[in-house]
């Protein structure tokens, strides 16, 4: 206690305290300014991984937000519907629900933006819809205005150059820097399955088959086929029409039924659905129809796998066959992994299929990982 200075009066004590605080503040001021600058939030980086799909568009972002929206865009047809809907543009399920009052677009209907120059009006509409859809999914990721936004967008493996250009143009309106990458590659990258893997990414419009062998897949490593979700819907429609011509339904009703009951298992539970017959809801047993429709993509997909396997180094073909990764929305068909394995056994002499746990966000998670791993100067050069 000997070094403790005694202060006689309260006033003097207060004055001394103030002096001590002022001195400390002065001595720390430089450090405080430095720290303050360091804390300023003008250099945050938000990474976005976007899966621009035919059926759904999903985003995973480095702020923890993950969102998905059906890839539908609609614009009110006229002033009356605009007043009624109170919006200039509608997205996702809301657009699908109100499509009768809208100019309705499914901008990535065939896996790519439809930019057919023979139908300029439709091409323009599709491009605008794609642009708005990209803007919307980025908005849903809730980026801060004071952060840099770097996005990687997964596109179908064989998307046309025209589509890619359109996507880049659309994204650049909202983000600071953007890169595209092949969708099946981003799925594999997200799961760190980069070596000796065959990826089957089943979307709505297309299925991408991709051979991963430790390097960036080239064109010869990728096959895009149209045996995908929409193909199953069409099969289901035709088969129901054939078996139950009295039943009335639309493609959206069939899609909803498929999403609920899709299954290829031999012992799948019965699928009883209600469809109107002359206006009266009627039960139909479509168990076998559902199984057959879903099974219709198995053979062409395994044939595609066979192509990729057979053109690979014979020494590593076996390893490739034993690492087949089933991804995308279509991988949610129950029992599909087993059905593919079985068909591979019959036609390719064996194979092992792994199903991704996250069908909805597999592509966007992978794209996010790519965005994260991309060096900063690459992003800078693409600004």
């Amino acid at each position: 206690m000997s070094n403790t200075k005694k202060v006689d009066t309260k006033k003097e004590a207060d004055a001394e305290l103030d002096h001590v605080v002022e001195t400390e503040e002065a001595s720390q001021s430089a450090g405080t300014i430095m720290q303050s600058n360091d804390d300023s939030k003008d250099h945050g980086v938000l990474y976005l991984g976007i899966d621009l799909g035919t059926s759904r568009t999903s985003v995973s972002s480095s702020n923890g937000v993950r969102e998905t929206v059906a890839s539908y865009v609609g614009y009110p047809k006229d002033v009356v519907s605009r007043k009624l809907l109170k919006k200039d543009v509608l997205f996702g399920d809301e657009a699908a629900e109100k499509r009768l009052s809208l100019d309705f677009y499914r901008p990535l209907a065939d896996g790519v933006i439809d930019c057919n120059e023979d139908d300029m009006a439709n091409a323009k509409g599709n491009l605008k819809a794609a642009r708005d859809l990209i803007g919307e999914i980025i908005r849903r990721a809730q980026p801060r205005k004071d952060e840099l936004i770097y996005a990687v967008i997964g596109v179908p493996a064989q998307a046309s150059i025209h589509s890619k250009e359109a996507i880049i143009k659309a994204a650049k309106e909202t983000v600071d820097s953007v890169m595209l990458c092949s969708e099946p590659f981003s799925v594999a990258y997200g799961l760190d399955m980069l070596d000796d893997v065959l990826v089957i990414d089943i979307g709505a419009g297309t299925t991408d088959l991709c051979r991963m062998h430790g390097t960036m897949p080239e064109d010869s490593d990728q096959i895009t086929v149209t045996y995908a979700g929409d193909y199953v819907d069409n099969q289901l429609m035709e088969r129901i029409k054939e078996a139950h011509p009295e039943a009335q339904f639309s493609v959206n009703m069939i899609k909803a039924i498929k999403e609920k009951f899709s299954n290829v298992a031999e012992d799948m539970p019965p699928v009883i659905v209600q469809l109107p017959v002359k206006g009266k809801p009627t039960d139909f047993d479509i168990t076998n129809i559902m199984r057959d429709a879903c099974n219709s993509i198995v053979a062409p997909l395994v044939d595609g796998l066979g192509e990729l396997v057979s053109s690979f180094d014979p020494e590593f073909q076996e390893r490739l066959k034993n690492r087949v990764l089933l991804a995308g929305g279509g991988s949610q068909i129950r029992g599909l992994d087993i059905a593919v394995e079985k068909y591979m056994q019959e036609h390719l002499g064996g194979g092992k299929v792994i199903k991704t746990e996250e069908a909805m966000y597999g592509g966007s998670n992978g794209a996010l990982k790519i965005a994260h791993d991309m060096p900063g100067d690459f992003w800078e050069q693409l600004k």
Partner: protein
């Protein structure tokens, strides 16, 4: 090429650092794992805790401290702490986002009301000024005209009266000179006085106009300030703070990654493909 170490994902988030916005349970879990807690403590409790801590610190660091010394040290510390709290503290007001937006909305409505009032006032004044200016123009013209007419009559009458006066006198050569001088001086003086009176009237009119113009310019200025405030408030209301990224800086591939080399090549390939694509777009 930058290859900064990657920041590990947040606890509770998936390995890619993502979490579904729609999943409240997951978000709450993440908040529980990563959020910072705010502890509240009352003033008396704070002082009691501080006193106990001071006593503890003194006892621990100094041997044989008398109780009265300990009490004095604690008391001095608490007094000093209280004093600094009062002097150094800053009063802040916190509002939840909804309340904040509500307040901004209320302010905006108030300002909109003020703007409307200012606009109405401005319109009224502008109309009044235009009317007054027109009236004054007429008045001015009338005054000048009246002065010219009346002035000529008065001048004539004055000249006649002076003529009569001089005629009644004995006519000499000297008187003739005086007569000319007086006539000219008298008429000049009368005309000057008349002109002064007119100038005074016109000055009053001008001052009235200037007053109107000043009021109009003040109102215009106030209106433009109101407009600026409305724009600012609209900006505040539209601020979507968004969700902050977990990264402050560009990350890049970690050198510790098992497949760092092959991934680097892949990143390079993606970059080159995109560079060539964007060159085409440009």
């Amino acid at each position: 090429m930058s290859n900064a170490q990657s920041t590990p994902p947040l606890d509770g988030a998936s390995p890619d650092g993502t979490l579904s916005a729609g999943n409240d349970a997951e978000r709450r879990q993440m908040m529980a794992n990563n959020g910072r807690n705010l502890n509240f403590i009352g003033n008396s409790r704070l002082l009691a805790v501080l006193g106990a801590a001071v006593r503890h610190a003194v006892r621990r660091n100094f041997d044989d401290v008398a109780d009265e010394v300990l009490s004095e040290v604690a008391e001095t510390t608490l007094r000093g702490f209280n004093h600094l709290l009062k002097n150094q503290g800053k009063a802040v007001r916190g509002l939840p986002v909804k309340e904040f937006v509500k307040e901004v909305e209320a302010s905006k409505n108030e300002i909109l009301k003020q703007r409307e009032q200012a606009r109405l006032e401005l319109n009224r004044l502008t109309r009044e000024l235009e009317n007054r200016q027109a009236e004054m123009r007429h008045e001015r013209e009338a005054m000048v005209q009246d002065q010219n007419v009346d002035g000529a009559v008065v001048d004539g009458q004055l000249a006649d009266r002076l003529e009569e006066l001089f005629d009644s006198m004995e006519q000499t050569e000297e008187l003739a000179q005086i007569r000319e001088l007086v006539m000219s001086a008298a008429l000049e003086t009368v005309q000057q006085e008349r002109s002064k009176a007119l100038d005074e009237k016109l000055r009053k009119h001008d001052s009235e106009v200037a007053n109107y113009q000043r009021r109009i310019s003040k109102l215009t200025e106030s209106l433009s300030r109101t407009e600026a405030e409305i724009i600012r408030l609209a900006g505040i209301k539209d601020i979507d703070t968004g969700v902050e990224s977990i990264y402050r800086q560009v990350q890049g591939l970690s050198e510790n990654d098992d497949n760092a080399e092959s991934k680097k090549e892949m990143m390079m390939a993606i970059f080159e493909a995109n560079l060539s694509l964007q060159d085409k777009v440009a």
